[in-house]
Amino acid sequence: MIVASDLGKRYPGGFEALAGVSFTIEAGRMVFITGHSGAGKTTLIKLVASIERPTAGSLVVNGQNLAALRRSVIPYVRRHIGMVFQDQKLLFDRNALDNVLLPLQITGLGRRESVRRAQAALDKVGLLARAKAMPVALSGGEQQRLAIARAVVNRPALLVADEPTGNLDADSADEVLELFAEFNRVGVTVILATHEPRRIERYRPQLLVLDHGRLAA
């Protein structure tokens, strides 16, 4: 499903975040990207989610080489990838349901069908009862689950998350990890970046360990 070969990312100014990274991820796997702070985890996540573009090598996701995409195609590629951001990027001027509706508005789905699917997504992350709540009224764990609901509402085959448990207490972190595992169990490929790979062994994940922008294992 994902094939990276000799992947590199150099930011303007010369900082090389990734270099010579090659790996293959089969569809339906659960993958953890680990490594020290600044090792390039976030960069790799952003490349896979087509939020940033590689500066070297190739990265093929769903049969498309993200390094060679035309700018006008990128939005449509992003719609097929569920993305959970490190800082969640929830919109605080609207309630939980409207946050989850945003991806469906972008694809132009009808209002009634959109609401039905958004409610289903909220139900799946256990937030249906809080659909009318504003994000500020949600706990950290609930906010993270809301971000996940927004990422999966388009039913992507690939779910990508950057430090989804970073700011959570142990219990909430376990809940969130378990949620990703559930999506993985129904066939969604899940890629998570984390700098604290605790309690992940039970998911028997594929591990990508980054060290100073290079793949260590």
């Binding site: 989610a49 939005p75 990027k89 972008i106 132009g108 009808g110 209002r111």
Partner: protein, 299 residues
């Protein structure tokens, strides 16, 4: 196709919601746009009212031919004969006695006329020429002035020509004014939309990262600018109608003083539609320029 329609309806809905969410800001923006359009709109309505007057009058230009006061009956008859041969469209003779009677009938003139030792008025002819072109009128005027015992020839359409020239000048000034205010309107919309884009930077960023196209992001702002411009145009039309209504009374009185009647018409449906349309177009242009520049900064 359905998705496209859904997206447009959603964008229109979002634009409307944004307009309603900040009613005070919206009202102020509409005032700015409305006032910018009021002056050209009022000017247009007033000028077309005046144009109507000149068109009605200039339909029948007249030449008044005044005989010398001491002209005899025979000399008057000679002119009458010449007029018959010249065959204008129509002409009539106004004997000096009739002219005096009419003067007496005028308010406040009776006593003055009674105090006169003799009739100071000359005999006169009022001629309606067959050819109303300004050049032809001028030729005819010169010819008439050359006839014997004709003291003075007055081209009654002279003031119509002056009014016409004034109207042409007014219309030109109006277009210049409208051009300047249009630029102002585009600039105002530009700024309003720029603030909107800044205020929604977070939403724009998120929407982009989860697959929004540029068109999706721009659309609500275009609708916003267009709607705002159209509403501002309607407000401008309302202002213009109000001003014209205020002027109608005094204008009627003024016309009455000159012995005429002059009903100043308000902006009609076409003018209202044109104002709303112009506002919408200018608002759209402002939004387009603004969104293009502002989004480049967010990128």
């Amino acid at each position: 196709m359905t998705a496209w329609l859904h997206q447009h309806r959603a964008a229109l809905g979002r634009a409307l919601r944004r307009l309603l969410q900040t009613p005070f800001v919206t009202l102020l923006s509409l005032l700015v746009i409305g006032i910018a359009l009021t002056l050209p709109a009022t000017g247009y309505v007033l000028l077309s009212g005046l144009g109507e007057v000149s068109r009605n009058v200039s339909g029948s230009p007249q030449i008044s031919v005044f005989m010398a006061v001491d002209a005899s009956r025979k000399e008057v008859a000679e002119i009458e004969g010449r007029l018959r041969r010249a065959a204008p469209d129509a002409w009539r003779f106004v004997p000096k006695e009739d002219a005096l009677k009419r003067l007496q009938a005028s308010e406040g003139m009776a006593e003055i006329v009674a105090a006169l030792p003799r009739n100071p008025l000359p005999d006169a002819f009022v001629v309606e020429p067959a050819n109303a072109a300004p050049e032809a009128l001028e030729v005819l005027r010169k010819e008439l002035a050359g006839w014997p015992k004709v003291a003075h020839v007055q081209l009654d359409s002279a003031w119509v020509k002056r009014l016409d020239a004034f109207l042409r000048l007014g219309r030109l000034a109006l277009w210049v004014l409208a051009g300047i205010f249009s630029v102002g309107l585009v600039a105002a919309t530009f700024n309003i939309i720029r603030l909107q884009v800044m205020a929604q930077a977070a939403e724009i960023e998120v929407a982009r990262m989860i697959g929004a196209t540029d068109a999706f992001i721009r659309r609500p702002f275009y609708y916003y600018g267009t709607l705002q411009g159209a509403l501002g145009g309607l407000l401008g039309a309302a202002f213009a109608a109000g001003i014209v209504a205020l002027l109608r009374g005094p204008a009627g009185e003024l016309a009455a003083l000159y012995g005429g009647s002059f009903a100043l018409p308000g902006p009609d449906g076409g003018v209202v539609a044109a104002l709303a349309g112009a506002g919408a177009l200018l608002g759209w242009i402002g939004a387009r320029l603004s969104v293009g520049l502002s989004l480049r900064r967010i990128d």
